[in-house]
Symmetry: C2
Subunit: 382 residues, 2 copies
């Protein structure tokens, strides 16, 4: 069995997770309790927060533990739901459902959503963005790294444009970044990013499922309420075990980022170079080897006219676990809207599939995957 679907969920970091579990079975108090079992749990929680602050280079006071990036995105976006006021939100057409769907809630409450399509390169057009921002724009939500293609948005240029436009329009615009596929894949220094919020999911870098992080520059009124945990931003008894594991997995992946990038780039280049020899294209088409516009662990490929779903199914039967699109979209109807704007035909979109690798992926696995992919395409081609 060869697991090539790390972007859906990573192989868990057993060592860290087991250590965190042992700790949580000893320090099991409710962090809100005032006795020693509670305060020692609270201390652990604070230690985890400090560790995450160090990994992301931001003040721990601006980090909130959540149940995952879906909740992080919802906390931020739904905080704008209001009976009496609305505005315009700008997002890309390649956002994850956990951003797209809360935006639809905003639309229900009178907001207008303006979507930017990416261009042929997968990046959004900066000049289009600049024109789209107007005096009604209140929020901009951008997916840092696209979960299907690995495209990295030019986030610093985007932020610069928004902040310049803010000055020009003499108004404040809230910038939210979906950072899920960026963490551990590209250097991320929050202190250098003039953003308002960023969401992170633990299970994409070895931590357990069900835990995430939200960076929030300034406290704000939220709509999901309860006890005052996480300073009211994310109520509910804190998931100490998973929070401890997340903070350690985050530290681990940030520490190893250079060596991982190097290793993953070699494997990814091998995939891209070899599959092109048997007429498999990348999406977007012009992805180069070691292309720094993409994370090195995700590639979207297409081999028309073979439907992506058929190819994925047959490869899965042969023991190679790949996917079409994102796992989170698989509960819904197939949706290739996002990548269709990246300069490909409808047929190419229909035939797209995703290969995503991780730190445990070996060169041998990649070589045999390429061979099996080649054979499978030959079998399936009409």
């Amino acid at each position: 069995m060869t697991y090539l679907d790390w972007a859906a969920t990573s192989v868990p970091n057993e060592l860290i997770i087991k250590e965190s579990l042992e700790k949580s079975l000893k320090i099991y108090g409710n962090p809100s309790s005032q006795h020693i079992f509670g305060t020692s749990a609270k201390d652990e929680l604070n230690n985890s927060r400090i560790k995450c602050g160090e990994s992301l280079n931001c003040s721990p006071d601006k980090l909130y533990f959540t149940s995952g990036a879906t909740e992080s995105n919802n906390i931020v976006l739904l905080s704008f739901v209001n009976k009496n006021t609305s505005g315009e939100i700008i997002s890309t057409s390649i956002e994850h459902p956990s951003v797209l769907e809360p935006i639809k809630i905003l639309v229900k409450f009178g907001w207008k959503n303006r979507e930017i399509n990416p261009t042929d390169t997968g990046e959004i057009s900066l000049s289009k963005l600049e024109k789209m921002i107007n005096e009604k724009t209140k929020v901009i939500s951008i997916i840092y790294v696209h979960n299907e293609t690995g495209v990295i948005q030019p986030i610093n240029d985007i932020i610069k444009i928004v902040r310049e436009k803010e000055v020009l329009l003499n108004k404040k615009i809230f910038i939210h970044i979906d950072g899920v596929q960026a963490i551990g894949k590209i250097d991320l220094d929050i202190s250098k990013m003039d953003i308002d919020s960023l969401s992170i999911s633990g299970h994409k870098f070895g931590a357990p499922k069900g835990v995430g992080l939200l960076y929030l520059k300034n406290e704000k009124d939220v709509i999901i309420k309860g006890g005052g945990q996480e300073r009211g931003i994310r109520p509910g008894t804190e998931n100490l075990f998973s929070i401890d594991a997340l903070s350690n997995c985050l530290e681990n992946c940030v520490n190893k980022i250079s060596s991982n990038q190097e290793k993953l780039t070699i494997l990814m280049d091998l995939i891209i170079e070899e599959v092109r020899k048997f007429d498999v294209s990348t999406i977007p088409k012009d992805r180069k080897l070691s292309d720094i516009r993409f994370v090195p662990n995700i590639v979207s490929l297409t081999a028309p006219p073979i439907p992506g779903e058929v190819l994925a199914r047959v490869l899965n039967q042969k023991g190679y676990m790949i996917s079409t699109g994102s796992a989170c979209s698989s509960n819904k109807k197939s949706d290739t809207k996002g990548i269709l704007s990246m300069g490909i035909t409808k047929d190419e979109g229909f035939s797209s599939f995703r290969v995503s690798i991780g730190e445990k992926t070996t060169k041998e696995e990649i070589i045999s995957f390429i061979q099996v992919l080649k054979e499978t395409i030959a079998e399936l081609k009409p």
Copy 2:
């Protein structure tokens, strides 16, 4: 160290939790993925749901895994947030913050909240409830077991009154039950309860923190959105490890309910009988021994004029972990509003503290606790 704060969080069930972790490290796929790692994860998820359905005697299709009862309560209550329509919601004055606070959001959106105070017995007045329901009433939210006093609301009588009033008014009323402190403490058969939703928290019965359950009779539009997980009711990659542990801990505590009830009742009677000998009262005052109007694991006590917080602090220093009020309220200003309506004076409320026990609590621990409590009260009394 003697842990007498089980109502804040229970001692984790190590055996079950470790087994669930081992399983989750093997079956680590994203349940939304279409390959074998995904489908086997999905199978596990379904098995957990079936097990929970059996434990609660309801169809597994009506159960949704959440990150905890706070989220379960928010999913239900915030689903009524709407730009154009509002109504009246009836709740008790002793609800948990994760119910009270989302209701405040409803109020922001034009809803009217009508609160019923409990009477001297801690139960809400059925005749008052009956009078409060009118043609504007859309939702009723009731805490099944009060987290500070252990009072069990006469839930079947409450449901009966609401459903009769529904017929009379020819309208539908949504009944939401906060079941957090009821699970594993009293027999709960959802098939016999004509309710619309019920929330459950795993860490109150040995499961890890960060996982909960929502019973929802009919699917409904919710406001927290994302990928289509949990049939759209609770988006976000499913927390398989904790879900597996929850389903096994739920099964375990439901299976052992009679023997646990018996054991806890003996210990609780011992506490109540003995502390009364040195002028400590129960809240409400008329709690009897083996009183079936209360769960046997929680008691609220008061020893005026010693402030509850001082007593709890000194007892904690002596190694007995008890609390004042609920842990979740401890992030906020002390609030004795709820219990103040239970026929006690302000001083008695100010002096209240909670003792909550669990299946690992021993008679020896209780005997020495009573002795230390007696000494401590003697020391602290002016």
